[in-house]
Structure formats: C-alpha cells, structure tokens
Symmetry: C3
Subunit: 175 residues, 3 copies
C-alpha cells in the first residue's frame, strides 16, 4: 500500500505569497525524521476560509487516500481562525485526546496554550490532526501525539508506518 500524507497549511498570508510557509515545511521535515517507510507528501496552502479548508481535507482524504493529514494554522480565537470547525465538519469521529494532550504539553511553555482550539478526527481511513501555526509549537505538539499515530492509522484501516526509533518512540499495544 502506497503511503500518502497530507500537509495542509491554513494561512491567509502564506496563501497570498506574503510570506514563506515555514510551518508546512517544518511538518514535512519532522515527518521525514520520524517515518522510515517510504511516503509521498500531498502538500497544499489554503487561506483561512472554511470552504477551502473542508474541500482540501476531503480531497486529501477521499481522492488522494492520505492515511494521515496534518494541518497547521487557524486554530486560535480570532475571527478568521476556523480550522477546527472545518475539521469537525468533515470528520465522522472526533478524537478529543489529541487536543487535550497538545494543549497540556504547550502549557508547560506558555499560558496562552489554552487559546489553541486544535483537535483531531477521523474521516474514512484518514486521521486528521490540527497543529498550531508556529514551527516551535509544531514540534512540541507533534512529538507529543505522534507515538500514538501509527497504531491509530492501522486501526482505521491504513498502512503500517515504520518509524525511526531514535527520532520518535512509537507505541503499539499488544492485543
């Protein structure tokens, strides 16, 4: 099974070319250090528009068959921040534990971690995870939740993600 992973940057400014998408690049770099299996990236930048985010999440899940889709940006309290709402709208199942753990981890660094509304959910055979917008917070959050990702992907019918043990300690319960 070919492994495809979606990286979706949600940002008005990055999508308008006002600045470089460092966040999306940071996610791709992290996933490259984590995952030993061969995988292919499906990468896209969209503005902070709910329709555009939902459409792209659906395309990555349904047409591209990405087993994992990671978003960055749009999880704050501002009017234009709608990534969690778009994620919930396209998911059949929500995974509250991802957001809880990412906020708890970020709280060790900044009290404003509670302002992040990031969540995660399942659409078909795709796990969708919202990450924050800043490269530093992205690593903190992805390091925290990724140990559970390969097992989750298997449980929803996806491929086996083999990982680099030196980069990330993956866990699979013995059933």
């Amino acid at each position: 099974m070919k492994i495809k992973i979606g990286i979706l940057t949600v940002s008005d400014r990055a999508s308008a070319g006002v600045y470089e998408d460092l966040s999306g690049k940071a996610i791709i770099a992290l996933l490259t250090t984590y995952i030993r299996s061969q995988w292919e990236q499906v990468y896209k930048i969209v503005p902070d528009e709910r329709d555009a985010i939902e459409k792209e999440l659906k395309r990555m899940a349904d047409d591209e068959d990405c087993c994992l889709i990671v978003t960055t940006g749009g999880t704050g309290p501002a009017k234009r921040d709608v990534t969690p709402e778009a994620t919930e709208a396209v998911c059949e199942k929500m995974m509250p534990g991802f957001g809880e753990l990412m906020r708890a981890v970020s709280l060790k660094y900044v009290p404003t971690a509670i302002l992040s509304r990031q969540t995660a959910g399942i659409r078909g055979a795709s796990l969708i995870i919202n990450l924050p917008g800043k490269p530093k917070s992205i690593k903190e959050c992805l390091d925290a939740v990724f140990p559970a990702v390969p097992y989750c992907v298997e449980l929803i019918g996806g491929p086996i993600l083999e990982c680099q043990d030196e980069a990330i300690k993956i866990f699979r319960p013995k059933s």
Copy 2:
C-alpha cells in the same frame, strides 16, 4: 430506594459468544469492592451497533432506573467503535471532565491513551460513564473517576452510595 447499576459491554465478539466478556466481569468485581450499600446489577452485552447501544442505555436509565450505567468497549477510532456517539445521543448533559481525567491517567501507562474517545453524561437521573475495553485499563480509569461518582449520583437525584473506604476514597464537598 433500591440501588441498580447497569453494566453494558459493547463488543461484536463478546456478543457473538466468540469470547468471554472479561471486561464486564471486571467492572462488576470492582464495583463490588467499592460499594458497601446493597445494589443490584443490570448486565447486558450488545454488538458495536449504535442503535443497540442507545436502546440498551435508554432501557437501563428509563425502565430499570439505574442510577449509574457503566459501559466498556467501543471507544477507539475504528469504524465499528461508536459507544461515545451512542452515549452522547442519549444524554441531556455531557460531562467532559470524566474523559479528560481517564485519558490523563491512562497516558501515564501508554501513549495510545489519546486514542480513547470515552466520555460521560447524564440522562435523567442516570450517570453514564464509558470505560475502555481492556480489564487493566478499566481499573485505572474507574479508580480515577469513582471518588466523584456517589456525589454526582446524589446531585442528579439518585440514591446514596455508601462505599468501602479501604477500597476507594469517596469525596463529598461540604456545601
């Protein structure tokens, strides 16, 4: 007031008789060590079907007058896991603190604790709590949340659950 407690095992395989329901039995054994008051169990096994789960939760709450209903199984990310959705559908009020605490406690043991979507809620005078499927995790989770259960049952109009202080430290705030 007669005390009745519902134990609902949600499992395709246990309901088909493919294996023994060790999880439901583990819950009954734990509740027996916790609770000193006389109580009666209302025990049922259903497959991972949303309709069957909702119907049984309603019956235990509305017809059997269970003050507490504990489910096991069906809280993961897989397609057939629908216990949290069924619970939310029959509850008037959700209690997010139960799921948060159970995931936080399980996280001390396994990073895959974030994959558990278990929740809790209130239907009429019944407190419904989702527990995970594995006997070991059941004890970790129930030990963590049960200290708040008797007070909650009283607040929603249920009976007084007297407990064994050596087995579990119950807490009731002085109002």
Copy 3:
C-alpha cells in the same frame, strides 16, 4: 476604547434574594486586583434558566460591548445546571482549553472537580468564561486561566487590558 466586563451570576437562590451573591462579588474583587486599566462592570444575577442566561449573555456582548464576560454557577450535573449549554448556544467558537485547565487545577484540591462542566467561548468580540459557583474555586480557576485572557481579548478585536504584575502574571507571545 472603554473597557467593560460582564459578571453574570447564575443562581436560583441568589436571584430570588434568598442569599447574598458572594460569588459575583468575589469575581469583581479578583478582577479589581488583576486589572490596572480603568474598567466598568456590567453586573447581573439571573436564575438557572437557559433563556435568561442566553438573553443576558447576548445583551452583555452585543449591546454593552463587554470584551470579557465571566459567569459563575450552573456548571454542575444537576437538572437546573445549564450554564455551559447556554454559553455554547450563544458562542460562535468554543475554547476547550479553558475548561480543561480549570478542571485540572481544581482536581488538585477535590476529586469532584470532574463534575464541573464549565467551558469558554467567543461571541463576536466577547470572550465568555464559565467559572464555578464557590468563591474558593473561583479564585483557583481564574488565577489559572487569566494569564491568557488579555491576549485573547486582543486577538478577537478587544481593548488592551493592562494588569497588575504583582497580582497576576499576564503573558503575550511575541509574534
């Protein structure tokens, strides 16, 4: 920009004059120690009725232009406790991190903290936060989340809340 803060006490008994509203007073006293900027309070007591709570939250947000609205009471599991439902009904965005952190902090004191269903959300340019009903718990919870409040208020288009550094350590990320 004139700074207005809403304090909404939700209590059948306080609204009927059966007892004094110590909780609302405790919130006003706390905010007075926290905030150095000049601000004006919009204070109201309503019974535990969803319509009355929603109507008052809307008035404080839309007509009074409160940048922050803090409620107390009505967050428990009892039949009359409907403050979180009223809050969610009037908000465009929910902020799950507030409830998670307040419950985690209260859990250090009492195991019944998981029974609190308090949440937070955004309506227009107003941040609405539910606090528990007891003055002691109010301080624990507001001390925990307030460091993120001024930055949140700015992100949703509100005024700058200057604070007393000796009373509360506010945090604003460098962007």
